[in-house]
Symmetry: C2
Subunit: 242 residues, 2 copies
DNA sequence: CACTTAAGTTGACGGTGTTCACAATCTGCT
DNA sequence: AGCAGATTGTGAACACCGTCAACTTAAGTG
């Protein structure tokens, strides 16, 4: 009844089924990239695959489910990229680690603008991503940022007084609650610092991506500088990254 | 031929025409607010107005032009709100001015989430806002932020050494070019600082608006704290805002 | 082989943006 | 007053969309 394979069925069937699903998603992704989320349509995907639109319903119960899959995939792709950057720069200072991860974040966003808008805004009408499916995927990416902060703290590169100083009384208990939830096992000050970093990172990237920055500004140079600046007053006291 | 009124025509005609246009935009805005940009459709607007869909084409050459009008209106509304905040807090310190304007910015975003996503992302498929029409409208809002920074500098509340220190060599000439263009008549360091503020502001708001922040965090408390932190980070040395 | 299950097609329904030919209305002019 | 012309609205049509139900075809299993 349901298109999802509850029973293993035959291995061969299952294999080709997965391949078809992957082809659908790939085609959809391509159409998504061609011109924003503009021209994405089930019928279009089916047409390009030489299928009828209704055939796709054997694989996805609705267009929104296909979209959700794309959202999850995009989050995963971003997280993968960040983790690669994290591993590659793990030996250096925490500050360098942050800058490298941030650059990877921006690079991914610029290479996959349609995916970025897909996951960080709602470019498709009538579609709201279901949190229960997308949130875990998103959190892998956020987790990398938290790991960077964790490393900074562990390496003694964060000024504890400064971290404490940045906390407003209203915010402290909330951050403690977040920390206690297990999602983000860091002291409140470090969490606050990480949020500052994330907001700046995300804000600058969306401004650049949607062409809200003056055109004479080179996004890369501005970005690099801003990432260093944000480190600085968050209480980072380690070696200056390049 | 063209729906736009090149000739003044009769004053009466012109008046009722403007009223109709306004009613169309209002209806569209309402539909937009009802559930995101999801359910916005020309036919829906026409239906609610007791008109045929094709009748709207007497007033807007296409759906995208209607959207562009909404975008411009939204930018204008935001700018109005910011200017009110600017005037109201003009007497206080630059830091207080910044926090008040930033709060107004967030308040507007939260009260008009659909408008915010409409102007700062691309929530409608196939639609890309034409820059020549939207950019001037957007710049009024950015201009307020720049005025805040101007005031901070004029009041001697910005540490000039710090501003200088924050500039990367790659970025300086670009910011100087921007400044020279007349759009943003501020020294490069101050421009950089203003961009930092804007990116943080914008980033945090989009994260909150799209529910990418952990739910136990109160957006308002986090926001206030972050706005103070960002001030600090960019070399603000005036009295601490509340 | 017969039987079950999955994959795909056909055709429809109601929705969308858009166009075009036509009718109704209002305005200005003589 | 009456006519000409512009303005505003309608109705039907076109091509597209997501979705569903009934049907046919193919594949795998006992």
């Amino acid at each position: 009844m349901t298109p999802s394979a509850a029973t293993p069925a035959s291995p061969r069937r299952e294999r080709v089924r997965r391949a078809t699903i992957e082809e659908i998603k790939e085609t959809a992704r391509r159409q998504l990239a061609i011109e924003g989320a503009a021209t994405l349509s089930l019928r279009g995907v089916a047409r390009e695959m030489g299928l009828t639109a209704s055939a796709l319903y054997r694989y996805f119960p609705s267009r929104d489910d296909l979209l959700t899959d794309l959202v999850v995939d995009a989050f995963t792709s971003l997280a993968d990229r960040l983790e690669v950057a994290l591993d590659a720069a793990w030996e250096g200072s925490g500050g360098q680690l942050w800058v490298d991860v941030a650059r990877a974040y921006r690079a991914w966003a610029i290479e996959h603008p349609s995916d970025y808008t897909l996951i960080f805004s709602t470019p498709v009408p009538g579609y709201e991503a279901p949190e229960d499916r997308t949130k875990p995927a998103m959190f892998r990416g956020v987790g990398v940022l938290l790991q960077v902060m964790t490393r900074c703290v562990a390496a003694g590169e964060m000024d504890p007084d400064r971290l404490e100083e940045l906390l407003s009384p209203a915010l402290r208990p909330q951050l403690e609650a977040w920390s206690a939830s297990g999602e983000a096992p860091l002291p409140p000050g470090a969490l606050s610092a990480a949020l500052t970093c994330w907001a700046t990172l995300h804000g600058l990237i969306t401004l650049e991506l949607f062409h809200h920055l003056p055109p004479m500004l080179d996004g890369g140079a501005l970005f690099d500088q801003q990432m260093v600046v944000v480190l600085d007053r968050i209480g980072y006291i380690g070696p200056r990254p390049t």
